[in-house]
Amino acid sequence: MKKVLLIKYGEIMLKGLNRPFFEKQLERNIKKILSGDFHYEISKEHGRFFVEITGEESDRRKAADRIARVFGIVSISFANKLDLKVDDIYAAAIECSRDAIAKGNKTFKVETRRPNKMFPFDSMKFSAMTGEKVLNALAELKVDVHKPEFTVHIEIRKSAYVYYESIKAGGGIPVGSSGRGLILLSGGIDSPVAAYMMAKRGLQLDAIYFHSHPYTTEMAKEKVIDLVKKLSLYCGNMRLHVINFTNAQLAIYDNCPHAQLTIIMRRVMMIISERLAANTGAKALVTGESLGQVASQTLESLGVTNSSVSLPVFRPLIGMDKYEVINIAKAIDTFETSILPYEDCCTVFVAKHPETRPRLERIQESEKKIDIASLVEECMSDIEIIEVT
């Protein structure tokens, strides 16, 4: 009997002929997240990966937690792998149940899946046979097929797998299977969540951060680096591009109407991001905008911002309220970092009364007062790149 992690994947199963493409990406991502820290063997059977971790039970648990962050996976089960011998399977089912009882469980059922049709008993029958053996061995247990406190799962494949304990994973599709995107990270609560959500849809992400030294503190930049580190647990390796944005910001401040500062600044940020995307191979920009959250995220503002670029802009939080976003931020452990108070020192770049219903023609008129092309060029020539793995 061997202890293995039984990995189930969800949405990939719905794929047709290109399923192998997704499976290969998923396998690469599982290997990448385990590499360096674990000795393991990975194998695949229809709809499942099996990972055998060398070491103690605690290593297996740690590896499972790590794998749970790989998108494309729906759950990881702590399974016993056995030869297809009925008595061994019964014994493993009894052992699982004993363990479950020790954790305070009293009712159970047995569920069998039998992709291997060579096995002589059908699923229903084998579940019943195993259940009976378990009941005979452990008198304190009762069967409850509707709401059992635990379920002994048996999978009959080339080998048999018996387990009752699983952890949930994030679902989605493997990072890298949808191409490359660029996340505009601010250091706030929203943008890391947006990155997480698009990684879940398979985007491999790089990040861009606009730093306005000396009006933004070095600590703000450190915070963004910390956020990227946390995100990389889900998103894989990320490259953070720090743009020296000060001169662009000052030019906008000095020349444009103050009520339009934020909207013009965001448009310039989008233009720079699109330029960078061309260099990194990103085919989409990702932002943490949510409709109506602040002045720059009204429908009109989003429209005006959007019109500065031609790449698709993904806004996965657009229809979410702040509490939903905060809950995800807490779940992915970015919240505590995001709320560190290293915001901009100089709030002068935010107008007292920003326009909430900007009109594109008027914004474009204001933008004629600054040389956006050369500001963008200047920003593109001074990028600090930080590799986060």
Binding site: H213, P214, Y215, T216, T217, E218, M219, A220, L250, Y253, H258, P341, Y342, E343, C345, C346, T347, V348, V350, A351, K352
Partner: protein
């Protein structure tokens, strides 16, 4: 960073250790790593080093070695003095008197004792930055357990006459003990416990005088009773348990020895730097006020610039490898303006633009020139940015 050419003007925050201190620490880590409580040769060697270092430190403030408790820094020393004395003497009084511009390790500690039935009385500061003696005198009564007033203020350098304050306190209530946080004065000025006879406790730190971080001491006059904050193996006469950090203690003692020997040379040098900076500022920039009194410690100069946020200057200077401190901080964990300058009632247009420049004997006039020139060149840009 260490190899770059830097101008370090944040010496009230921390200092670069003496090379000989760093060497001494390494030497002890390499060869005298025994536990000072062990009775074998290596342990005895460590014990000797701790003993000799303690004698050195005691000698610098002219007290007995047994009146010294070595701590992890001034924060612990201040906590030990205030909490330790309060808990040991709960029957003698419930009121602790301190000033509005103390270091948070004093102010917060005093306030935290309200949860244990103590009262805090916070005395005011005049506009020159001195704690008002009359406020102290007026508030001493039979219930006053302790007074804690700092020797030199960490943001402005202002000196309080602690010897005089202690004498005034004892004249009203001889049972009230007097503590001072002397972090910014230790080794820079002669602190003589035989002269300040009415002072009962004094806290100091190592890393402000070119010693290692994580070291400090509390002077506690013989007969002053405290409850230990850390119980255990009974180290340091049972007042602070925990294996002694032999290397750190030796490094601290060596730094204190060198610093105090050189103190008059240093004093002269930093006084010249301080007055040069004052003159240079007067010639180069406008709309500023100096928050450090002319009689303040020359090691610190606090300048408030009108119409800017000080952390923007700090960030800008940092980008130029010039390191200073800001008196206001939206970028640190504590938002808002300096409580010290607020206690001194510095005007609203200036308080957000306060900078603290603090010197070490290593600083030069050329460094002051570079700093002021940078400041003068960027100030118009910063001042042009106003929220509209």
């Amino acid at each position: 960073m260490a190899k770059e050419n830097v101008i370090y003007l944040d010496n009230a925050a921390s200092t670069k250790p003496y090379p000989e201190v760093a060497e001494r620490i390494k030497e002890i880590l390499d060869y005298a790593y025994g536990n000072s409580s062990s009775t074998h040769k290596l342990g005895v060697e460590a014990h000797r080093i701790v003993k000799k270092s303690t004698e050195t430190l005691a000698g610098i403030i002219n007290c007995k070695p047994e009146e010294v408790i070595l701590t992890s820094g001034a924060a612990e020393a201040n906590n030990m003095a205030i909490k330790g004395y309060a808990f040991a003497n709960m029957k003698s009084g419930k009121t602790i008197l301190t000033s509005a511009y103390e270091h948070p390790t004093v102010l917060t500690t005093v306030k935290s004792l309200s949860a244990f039935g103590f009262n805090s009385c916070i005395c005011g500061v005049d506009d020159m930055g001195y704690v008002k003696h009359c406020d102290i005198r007026d508030n001493i009564n039979d219930d006053t357990l302790m007074v804690s007033v700092m020797t030199a203020n960490s943001e402005t350098g202002t000196f309080n006459d602690i010897g005089q304050i202690a004498t005034e306190v004892k004249a009203i209530n001889e049972n009230t003990v007097v503590h001072t946080d002397a972090v910014q004065a230790f080794c820079k000025f002669k602190l003589d416990m035989q002269v300040w006879k009415n002072l009962d406790m004094l806290s100091v730190s190592s890393h402000k005088i070119k010693g290692p971080k994580g070291m400090g001491m509390l002077y506690i006059k013989k007969g002053t009773n405290i409850v230990p904050l850390i119980d255990g193996g009974g180290h340091q006469l049972g007042r602070r348990s925990g294996t002694e950090d032999t290397a750190g203690i030796a490094g601290f003692a060596l730094a204190a020895e060198i610093y105090s020997k050189e103190s008059s040379n240093y004093f002269q040098h930093v006084s010249e730097l301080n007055s040069y900076l004052r003159k240079k500022l007067a010639l180069s920039i406008n709309d500023y006020i100096i928050n450090s009194h002319k009689d303040a410690s020359p090691y610190i100069l606090n300048v408030a610039l009108k119409g800017i946020r000080s952390e923007v200057v700090l960030n800008y200077m940092s980008g130029k490898n010039i390191f200073i401190a800001a008196g206001s901080a939206c970028s640190s964990k504590h938002k808002g303006n300096s409580h010290v300058l607020e206690a001194m009632c510095i005007p609203d247009d200036y308080i957000g633009g306060a900078l603290r420049i603090s010197f070490s004997p290593l600083n030069t006039m050329e460094e002051i020139d570079i700093f002021v020139n940078e400041l003068a060149s960027i100030l118009p840009r910063f001042r042009s940015l106003r929220k509209r």
